[in-house]
Symmetry: C2
Subunit: 225 residues, 2 copies
DNA sequence: CCGTTAGGTTAACGCTGTCAATCTGACATC
DNA sequence: GATGTCAGATTGACAGCGTTAACCTAACGG
């Protein structure tokens, strides 16, 4: 048992919440697995009895989610810092920043994105990032190079990058190329090109049209405009 | 307690393995969550005592994985059935089949693909699917429309579809369009177009080149060939 | 009929999340 | 300074979990 924590003064009970979060954060960093986050371990490290955690978190799930959400703010900042300038370059930078963030915090990313979300809605922090993303896409649409609903396009881009990093995180034994950074780069650009081509294709192209036909059509349209 | 199971005859001990798997499968289907798969619940439903599970599975993890791997064979068949004919159309069919499979078996998909893989290697069933995928891509590369390493290209396509379905499964409260089938279609084609464009771009295109430049370059090359 | 052994069971351990009941010490008041 | 109050915690317990060691028992070959 680590040294017992001194009781907080009146009105400052919320201090414990912060200390619990810090303890859990450290535990997660040391163990590298969310399994290490037992209420008992967290409480002991915070120098407090186990049920005290319930004074600030409804249940374990809420604690774990709170811990993982803490790093998410960083992603919001990253997005903000990468906006501006050429909208396509900005979009690319955001994608790369997102991927780097996920790979830098694999445990937190898994907990928040690779599990059945507990609440009915998207976690607010993630929602804000998504809004950034939609804005970035909207800027691209305004240049007329991309066409379509920004939200829908953003979802596609998001899911492309998410697919790559979540596979990297969950399936490290896939035959990945050695250079992760380059892989991310590929994916981001593939998603970008794909979205651009797809968004500018005639809507009435039959679903069964093969790639060559579609690309030819696209090439023709590109030269026209 | 359900009726107790009659002891198997000598040499037929392996029958219990099958019955345990079936029990677990049913439990999973009824509850819709892997949390329902407690050893006690599975054993009771199989009409057997809890530790008997250990006669056929090293630990719980192995049982859960075995349960989820059972449906995976179906995916292998789906892939096989969708090969042949125009390689690009085949690739598209495979992507759609993969997505439909994942959305039809969300729990199993999550257990196998969205969690830290236990063993050192890829589960054999998934590896076989990946091989199919690489073959399909290789066929496309032979037409000269796609260029590059089939394995690398396949990874990109896989991760695109995986990204979409895993987000759909884990984050149902995202602002998804109503028509899932159409969404999958978009993603598959975006990934296809993106890969095609990207694979045919000059390798020395600077990483900072913006989308418009790259697309123009691509359009020019496409008309030349 | 007996001995062997595959095919199980019993009982228990340590761990987990969670809750009801209880204590305690800092503060406002007299 | 003594007193009452209530926020801030603790104690003790519960049910359920995965897992293990020790034990039983029914089916078969000789």
């Amino acid at each position: 048992m680590t040294t017992r924590r001194v009781r907080a003064r009146r009105g400052e009970g919320a201090l414990l919440r912060e200390e619990i979060l810090r303890a859990a954060e450290d535990l997660l960093a040391e163990a590298g697995t969310e399994d290490a986050l037992t209420l008992r371990a967290v409480a002991e490290r915070a120098g407090v009895s186990t049920p005290s955690v319930y004074l600030h978190f409804a249940d374990k799930e809420e604690l774990v989610e709170a811990v993982c959400l803490r790093v998410w703010d960083e992603l919001g900042r990253l997005f903000g810092a990468n906006l501006g300038g050429d909208p396509f370059l900005a979009l690319g930078r955001c994608g790369r920043a997102y991927a780097r963030f996920a790979l830098d915090h694999p445990v937190q990313y898994r907990v928040l994105m690779l599990r059945p979300s507990p609440g009915p809605g998207v976690p607010p922090a993630a929602a804000e990032c998504f809004r950034h993303m939609v804005d970035a896409v909207a800027a691209c649409v305004e240049t007329r190079v991309l066409e379509g609903d920004p939200e829908e396009l953003a979802l596609g881009l998001w899911s492309a990058v998410h697919g790559c990093v979540s596979l990297l995180i969950a399936q490290p034994s896939f035959p990945w190329p050695r250079d992760r950074e380059a892989l991310i780069d590929h994916i981001v650009r593939i998603a970008g090109f794909g979205t651009a081509v797809y968004s500018r294709l005639p809507r009435d192209l039959p679903p069964s049209a093969d790639l060559v036909t579609a690309l030819d059509d696209f090439g023709a349209r590109l030269n026209l405009s």
